[in-house]
Symmetry: none
Subunit: 279 residues, 2 copies
Amino acid sequence: MVDGENAEAPKDFETLRALIIERRATLPKRLAQVAIYALDNPDEVAFGTAASVAQSAEVQPSTLVRFAQSFGFQGFSDLQDVFRARLRERVPSYDERIERMRQHGITASRSNLILDGFLEATEQSVAGFRSGADRDALDRAVDLLAQAHTIYLIGLRRSFPITSYMSYAMGKLGVRNILVDAVAGMASEQAGFIGDKDAALAISFTPYANETVSLVGSAKARGARIVSVTDSIFSPISAPADVLIEIGEANFEGFRSMAATMAVAMALSVAVAARRGGG
Amino acid sequence: MVDGENAEAPKDFETLRALIIERRATLPKRLAQVAIYALDNPDEVAFGTAASVAQSAEVQPSTLVRFAQSFGFQGFSDLQDVFRARLRERVPSYDERIERMRQHGITASRSNLILDGFLEATEQSVAGFRSGADRDALDRAVDLLAQAHTIYLIGLRRSFPITSYMSYAMGKLGVRNILVDAVAGMASEQAGFIGDKDAALAISFTPYANETVSLVGSAKARGARIVSVTDSIFSPISAPADVLIEIGEANFEGFRSMAATMAVAMALSVAVAARRGGG
DNA sequence: TTTCTGCTGGAATATTCATTCCATTATTGG
DNA sequence: CCAATAATGGAATGAATATTCCAGCAGAAA
């Protein structure tokens, strides 16, 4: 095996794509055939086995291996990883970023790499939510909240920034709300006044804060309607919810982006105000 | 093998998802664990091997097979096919995304139009910041904050969600910080202990809260270093700043997106922790 | 408490799969 | 036209993977 080629194996799909296009003209017949097929059917390459891809592309499995090796990969499997990563839409980790940078010969400080990671996670969260969001659920949530006498905002720990923003925005917009902020351990007292004319907006992500869960439970028991914003249908605040808004945020180095959640929070605040204002 | 079960194996992801949700409550412990993992991490299930998925979900590979069979599949591989099919359908191509947007736009409710507005503002903010950010300033900010004994987080009103998030994150990461939250009007008392070994991170946007401005002033007077995150060089917290991070957020209906600011906040928290941790 | 049923973990097995190897076929240069 | 080199097809190999099986265990019923 020629180790010299190994170094140049692209790690991200765009680089690989560019390289394939660049070298396609100089490739032998069967390899060119693979090149065309791979770029035309990236999903097949990502999901298929060497045998199945070979059959679709009308070459031998061994040709696929050679193709991969001619681009510096160790075998077909390594090449396939790049095609899969593209579909996965995963934010590259800090280590992968460094590796990619090294390949491109550029340098950035560690701080800036981290920043880029979070910016990318933000973009991915928004893009993902845009295509996968339950648009109808948002409408129902706005309906429900607009009809409530008072909106109780429940969100602790990492969700607290969201609810505190909503409290600020709703206050500005004249929407009656109570921010359950658990200052001085008074959360249950704050939520104790909730009634059947009211609604609770609960926000919680893994690992779900116990207090949020129990607050939602008691709000439900007191007859309030519940809107839950959470990350899973199996979240403990999903079951008691009248309306469920599911948000799968991308994360970087274990820290969840909150961009999509924040956008939803803003939209809810403004839409509820508009609905109430005779919109 | 019981053929009776084979007939009910769902062929599309949505049906499978619904079935899993429906039956989860009656599922044995480990199988329920798989159910939660699978729906929360569909991408992993689609791409991984039985062994890798099992490890992530903290079960045995055989449990995965049992799980699949309990839903009428022949084995894990068949179940995986459904998860892969889902990814094939959800092509994240840009053109399709725009097309889908346009289709949504026609029939979208008012609430969803508002949501789209905020999502767009988020993307615009991030894109704008990405190209125009002062990368060097970020490095200097991290340096400065990493050297501080205690970091005072100053941000009121709409900036409070950001500082409260940073306080949460830094707390988790073991970075000594004080959130100046002005509860009970105690802001100046909280900030009164700041000294020349400390640093203040101030966040403020138009219209700049008076209290934030004066807090920054007194922190400066007491010898603390200042990092300001704001929207303009002419902001009242720009002048006293040792490091200035300028963020021009896009806004929708008068509400500024906070996505870029949030990403910077997360990056600062993590980068400072990393620097301190001997990175 | 005892028995029984069903769940779970982990090793053993069988299958699928990527890769390698080599004989054969095409292509290029003299 | 011939020799030399590269490319190709396809079978053989070895690794990785899913699946099966069984013993041990936990929880429910008697």
